[in-house]
């Protein structure tokens, strides 16, 4: 049974491109301070940053929960937004509903959710059209475990 060592909750605002990425910066700074393996921090950084960008681009707001246990890090993002009608399509690399404005900001190329999954040891995506989306990612700390 894993023991929870640290829990942080962040609010992410939709359409706030200037602040987008602050949460991932905060989360990775905490992990650097406590000496977590840089490879793990990189994966956590990609997961949180991509998840934040998805909220900023598509949703009204979201809560990002970050939990560090003795054997894993979990990141859960629950947003209030339009939801995703076709989850399989959304997971296809290159598929995107982003606008030109979003792409001009360097995101919206259909790589966000695949990047999150690729960096997760466990991954879940749930969505309800008109209500919102939940993304769950778990990254094991002990790669041999």
């Amino acid at each position: 049974m894993s023991e929870e060592l640290l829990r942080r909750t962040f609010e992410v605002r939709g359409r706030d491109f200037e602040s987008a990425g602050e949460t991932s910066t905060d989360v990775t700074s905490v992990l650097k301070d406590i000496g977590v393996d840089p490879d793990i921090i990189l994966r956590v950084g990609v997961v949180t940053f991509e998840a934040e960008m998805n909220v900023v681009m598509y949703a009204d707001r979201a809560t990002l929960s970050f939990v560090l246990s003795d054997d894993e890090i979990t990141i859960e993002v629950t947003d209030q937004g339009p939801g995703i009608p076709d989850l399989e399509l959304a997971m296809q690399p290159g598929y995107s509903t982003a606008t030109d404005e979003m792409r001009e900001r360097g995101f919206g190329y259909g790589l966000g959710l695949p990047n999150i999954k690729k960096n997760s040891d466990a991954f879940a995506l749930e969505s309800e059209v008109g209500k919102g989306t939940r993304v769950y990612s778990s990254i094991r700390l002990n790669v041999d475990g």
Partner: protein, 114 residues
């Protein structure tokens, strides 16, 4: 190759990280799509981009990159430069375009990160 040599080859101006020009960089990624950079992160690599918003710096920081070269004389805003300075990331601005910047660095031994 030292970052100082990259600055000279690309006739670039240093916007942040003046004290870090001795860093060695032997690999580069050129893209305006930050998710593409994050899809295959290369710690220590150089990011060559025309994207100047704050996410360019956040992407480079998350991927542990050493420096960013902004092409076509594109300049990030003050907050973006400040974040890079605070986090010890070198920012360069070159008047050259992305194609020429990549070509010059490739000819001088910098490899593309795949």
């Amino acid at each position: 190759m030292r970052v100082a040599a990259i600055r000279d080859l690309l006739q670039a101006e240093v916007l942040a990280g003046e004290s870090l020009l001795d860093l060695e960089v032997d690999m580069a990624v050129a893209s305006d799509a930050m998710s593409a950079v994050l899809a295959s992160p290369h710690p220590g690599a150089l990011l060559i981009t025309g994207l100047t918003n704050i996410q360019s710096v956040r992407t480079a920081l998350i991927a542990y990159m050493s420096a960013i070269v902004y092409v076509r004389d594109a300049r990030p805003n003050a907050a973006t430069i400040q974040l890079a300075s605070d986090r010890q990331l070198v920012l360069l601005a070159t008047p050259l375009g992305m194609f020429d910047s990549c070509g010059i660095l490739r000819n001088h031994g910098v490899k593309g990160a795949v």
